[in-house]
């Protein structure tokens, strides 16, 4: 009896094993070329992206160059606690989120609208010229951009000051002294700089919309505006949704350089973000603390990750498009 049961069990196992390896073989055979193509990219990924990833343990250690990564002392969550309990944590976190979310809200729809508008232009030369001009600001370095902002909005010698005085005859009020303006300046200058650049992908997608659809709609009597709503917009929706998900994954990462250059003593309360705070703590004391900055980076990444998973799941439910 026992002998039979064992044999039966072994037989079942071998059948299951066989069918798995069969299945794998069948799959590989069917699409072997696809897997071959993936090989080189995967190799790159493993070496250059996943290899260094284990260095993340620095965040949980008291890193000292003498002992290297593995030899340094393990301190668990000490670095994270230090960050979360630091005097300015709440303010800094609030500012970071405020800037990110505001940016996302504003700078997400604008490139789409811009692409749709440009797509409507009938004169081909004008259209091409517009596309090209609109994307140039992207190449202006941050340093120059912030310099220009200061220049233009200067109430004494800037364009803003000159126009204001010319129109009202009075001395212009200094916008930059109002700390709340930091947020708006930061976000809208970003829009100015990047809307053309960000619209490129949408313009590309729009160019693949077949003319037949437009012709058919025209015959049906739809106005140009209606055509935008019903043909153009849906055609770029998958791209838009994908980009939205991706951007949500960067919420915690407000870049350092632009904020730092735009800070001044009057707007510090609103302009200190995580990246500038870490810079001041780290560099201000010299002999930088890599554990601390890695921990904060990890903290940011985890939040970004949770966000991207959430948004992706929502998107899967609502639309057909999702990252995975």
């Amino acid at each position: 009896m026992a002998f039979q049961a064992k044999e039966l069990y072994q037989y079942k196992e071998s059948v299951r094993y066989a069918s798995v390896s069969n299945r794998v073989a069948k799959v590989l055979k069917k699409n072997w070329q696809l897997y071959l193509y993936m090989l080189l990219p995967m190799l790159y990924l493993i070496i250059f992206a996943y290899g260094p990833m284990f260095g993340i343990v620095i965040a949980f250690k008291d890193f000292s160059p003498q002992h290297g990564i593995w030899g340094s002392k393990w301190v668990g969550l000490k670095n994270f606690n230090e960050f979360l309990n630091s005097y300015q944590f709440i303010q800094v976190l609030k500012n970071t989120l405020l800037i990110s979310v505001y940016s996302l809200f504003v700078s997400f729809p604008i490139p789409i609208i811009l692409a749709l508008i440009i797509n409507v232009i009938r004169n081909e030369t004008f259209k091409k010229a517009t596309q090209m001009i609109v994307y140039i600001p992207h190449f202006i370095s941050t340093v120059v951009l912030v310099g220009m902002i200061h220049q233009i909005f200067n109430p004494i010698i800037g364009l803003y000051g000159n126009l204001y005085t010319r129109i009202t005859g009075k001395a212009a009020f200094d916008i930059m002294t109002k700390p709340e303006t930091f947020l708006h300046m930061y976000v809208w200058s970003g829009v100015w700089q990047n809307m053309g650049w960000n619209s490129i992908i949408y313009i590309a997608a729009l160019s693949s919309v077949s003319n037949e659809l437009h012709e058919a709609a025209q015959i049906d009597g739809a106005s140009r505006f209606k055509r935008i709503l019903h043909i153009d917009l849906p055609s770029i929706l998958p791209t838009a949704v994908t980009l939205l998900i991706l951007n949500c994954g960067h919420i915690m990462s407000v870049g350092f350089e632009k904020v730092f250059l735009m800070q001044n003593p009057l707007n510090l309360k609103y302009s200190e973000v995580i990246s500038t705070y870490v810079y001041k703590i780290g560099i201000a004391s010299g002999g930088g603390d890599f554990s601390y900055s890695t921990a904060i980076g990890l903290f940011n990444s985890v939040i970004n990750f949770i966000l991207i998973l959430t948004v992706n799941a929502i998107s899967k439910k609502i639309s057909e498009t999702s990252l995975w």
Binding site: M38, I56, I140, S207, L261, N304, L323
Partner: protein, 290 residues
């Protein structure tokens, strides 16, 4: 249609407004680059060049580093972009095939690296162990695939190339490779154009990898040289050790600032018309009918 005419009018007006807003600062930059440094510093330049002078440009080309940087950046951009686009297409195509087993999993594996990375130190150590420090490879290989661009490409292929084409080609006995080469690639011209542009600009503007891995001045890319000159005293003046030097750096930065911007942006502007050609409507028509 009458409402259409009104609509087109509104659109034209909006576009003109946008153009003015974008163009003004750009014209300001170009004008400043052709004005004398004096005029720029004293704030006299508002729209058109004041005290026309080429001193900024002359200084740019006299600076040896700038020329070397320019040459290096051209090299990194061309070779690097080629590597980027090939690798990205190699990964995007299989991932776009709905019938590929495990594609969602693989996609997640890629996307994970977009959010989590080991940081500067482990990456530096990796490059060092691979003996890539101070070689052009350090600027060409790390970052070969941008997951962001990968996702864009994959999405494009998925949505813009209908599944029927694949079925039709299978019936005709077409292999995966052939399908890729003869059908997918030609139809993906718009998105290939886009990622070529993205990668090329990425290379052209890159300085961080060079900062991390390169100390041989003959390999410096343009942006690194640029930042060296322009960032003279923008960040943290409290570590002032030599104020005379500071003033001198400021002077050099003032002189070169705008002409450097113009000179380093020119190649990028030249690229765009070539890319634009591929954003052409009606690419799909022939394939469906055929």
């Amino acid at each position: 249609m009458k409402e259409d005419r009104l609509f087109y009018c509104i659109v034209d007006v909006i576009v003109c407004l946008i153009l003015i807003i974008i163009l003004y600062p750009l014209i300001f930059i170009v004008s400043s680059s052709f004005s004398s440094t004096e005029a720029v510093i004293s704030g006299r330049v508002l729209l058109f060049p004041v005290d026309f002078s080429l001193e900024g440009y002359k200084a740019v080309f006299k600076t040896n580093d700038v020329l070397i940087g320019y040459r290096n950046s051209l090299f990194y951009t061309v070779v690097g972009t080629f590597i980027n686009v090939s690798m990205t297409m190699m990964a995007a195509y299989p991932l776009s095939r709905k019938d590929m087993e495990g594609r969602n999993l693989l996609m997640m594996i890629f996307a994970f690296t977009m959010i989590f990375n080991g940081g500067m130190i482990p990456t530096y150590m990796l490059i060092r162990s691979l003996k890539m420090l101070n070689t052009p490879w350090a600027l060409l290989i790390p970052g070969a695939i941008s997951v962001y661009n990968l996702i864009i490409t994959r999405t494009y292929i998925q949505t813009s190339i209908p599944g029927e084409l694949l079925e039709a080609s299978k019936i005709d006995g077409c292999s995966d490779s052939k399908y890729l080469l003869k059908i997918v690639l030609p139809l993906s011209k718009p998105v290939i154009a886009v990622i070529t542009l993205y990668y090329a600009i990425g290379h052209w503007n890159a300085y961080f990898n060079a900062f991390l891995y390169i100390t041989n001045e003959k390999l410096f890319p343009l942006q690194l040289v640029l930042r060296n000159i322009l960032l003279a005293n923008q960040i943290d003046g409290s570590m002032v050790t030599d104020p005379e030097l500071l003033r001198v750096k400021q002077g050099l930065a003032d002189l070169l600032r705008y002409s450097l911007i113009v000179v380093s942006s020119v190649p990028v502007l030249i690229i765009y018309p070539f890319i634009q050609k591929h954003f052409v409507k009606g690419v799909m028509i022939g394939s469906i009918k055929g």
